[in-house]
């Protein structure tokens, strides 16, 4: 394999390569000191760019409640009319023509519609084809894109060290996360038992000034939005305080449907993945 280009190195460090691609990169890195050196340079570059961007951040405020009163219906141009409206208009038009044509025989609405369905091809053959195409398009667009799922290897590359996990608990999901103040962060979901999943968020801090960090943490819980969501949410502690631990220079927080002291105890058990054997999802 020829040397790994910069774009691929960045994609690798960003956790955006497929597992197969990441393996190919790692195989090359294992036998190419030049590319290993470049990998570290690019890792530093990514961290530095992230720090600079973090400087260009607006003062962080608590999440404001959604101002639904501001909603103004947008102007909609004639070709942007919603599909149901367009269909309704088409049906009305067809009925109108039908009524006009059928008026000589005093037919019922039912009659008009069935009469028109036969001889006029538009209603019968064109419509199903179009709606099928529409459904196919809708299905194609359907998968909601959230934070990119990626592999443990990518997490390792992103964090620059072994991810920290709860020993023995199967990993259900692994995502890259963007957190203000962190140069790199991942979210690891682990299954404790059939009904309990805890979430570990771990990351390396970007080098930031202390007051900025404090401000982020104050604003982070977004209690206002949380409270409006459900009565149960309001019944819980209004500002979720998450235990934080520093493991191998990674800041690790834990959250899950458990009391705070249980979460704190769980957090005490987390350790770098290295020697552990963990079953994948």
């Amino acid at each position: 394999m020829s040397h790994v280009d910069d774009g691929t190195l960045h994609a690798y460090l960003d956790g955006e390569l497929t597992p197969a691609e990441a393996q190919a990169v790692e195989a090359h890195l294992a036998q190419c000191p030049d590319c290993r050196g470049r990998l570290e340079e690019e890792r530093a570059l990514i961290a530095r760019a992230g720090e600079l961007l973090a400087l260009a951040t607006p003062p962080d405020r608590a999440l404001p409640p959604f101002r639904s009163g501001d909603v103004r219906p947008p102007r909609r141009l004639w070709w942007q009319v919603r599909l149901p409206v367009a269909w309704a208009a088409t049906v009305l038009l067809a009925l109108g023509i039908g009524t006009y044509l059928g008026s000589r025989s005093a037919a019922s609405w039912q009659r008009v519609v069935t009469d028109q369905a036969g001889p006029v091809p538009a209603a019968d053959s064109v419509a199903p084809v179009r709606s099928r195409a529409f459904v196919q398009r809708a299905v194609k667009r359907a998968p909601p894109v959230s934070l990119a799922e990626f592999s443990l290897d990518s997490a390792r590359a992103l964090l620059g060290r072994e991810p920290v996990v709860l020993p023995g608990a199967p990993i259900r999901a692994l995502r890259r996360a963007h957190l203000p103040g962190y140069a790199a962060a991942v979210v690891i979901e682990q299954q404790l038992d059939s009904g309990t999943v805890v979430q570990l968020v771990e990351g390396r801090r970007a080098e930031m000034r202390m007051d900025a960090v404090v401000a982020e943490r104050v604003a982070a819980p977004s209690a206002a939005a949380e409270r409006t969501r459900a009565p149960q949410a309001a019944a819980q502690a209004p500002a979720p305080i998450r235990p934080v631990r520093l493991v191998d220079q990674l800041e690790v927080t834990i959250s899950g449907p458990l009391p705070l002291d249980s979460l704190t105890q769980l957090l005490r058990r987390v350790a770098p993945l290295k020697a552990q054997s963990v079953t994948g999802p």
Binding site: L45, P58, H178
Partner: protein, 167 residues
Amino acid sequence: MSQDLAEVYRTTYRALVRFLYRKVWDAARAEDLAQEAFARAVVHKPDNARGWLFIVAANMARDDARRAARERRHLTLLKAEPQTSESGADDALHVESERTHVRAALEQLSPRDREVLLLWDAGISYEEIAAQTGLARGAVGTTLARARRRLVEAYQAGQRGEHVARG
């Protein structure tokens, strides 16, 4: 607002404000535009709300910049040059000055490089960035590598320039 959109609001609002701020450079304006984008999402109910929000936000920021440029054509756009020579100890001013430097560095990137960098920093995946910018997915890493390098270089050049100017 639907449950889904409420969740998107909770998880995406700040990233959207940050994204907008780096385009309009006015925190209050960025928040207004973000709120407006969510208000439109309530009406449109897009399938992929997160991606949709960033497209709408980018368009709104562009329109906003055009209008701002029209309104103050006679003013210098970048008037907030560093004013820290006397008050280096003042933290607020120091932060402001660094922000100005990063802004100047960002504005030296090509529009596409800048867009890709800001989208990535807002938590958008390569795949979505490719969909939004029209880049091939394989080109996103290369673009990001270049954008990051230029950002750091431009920032360092700005710092050096200032040191030279200060003598």
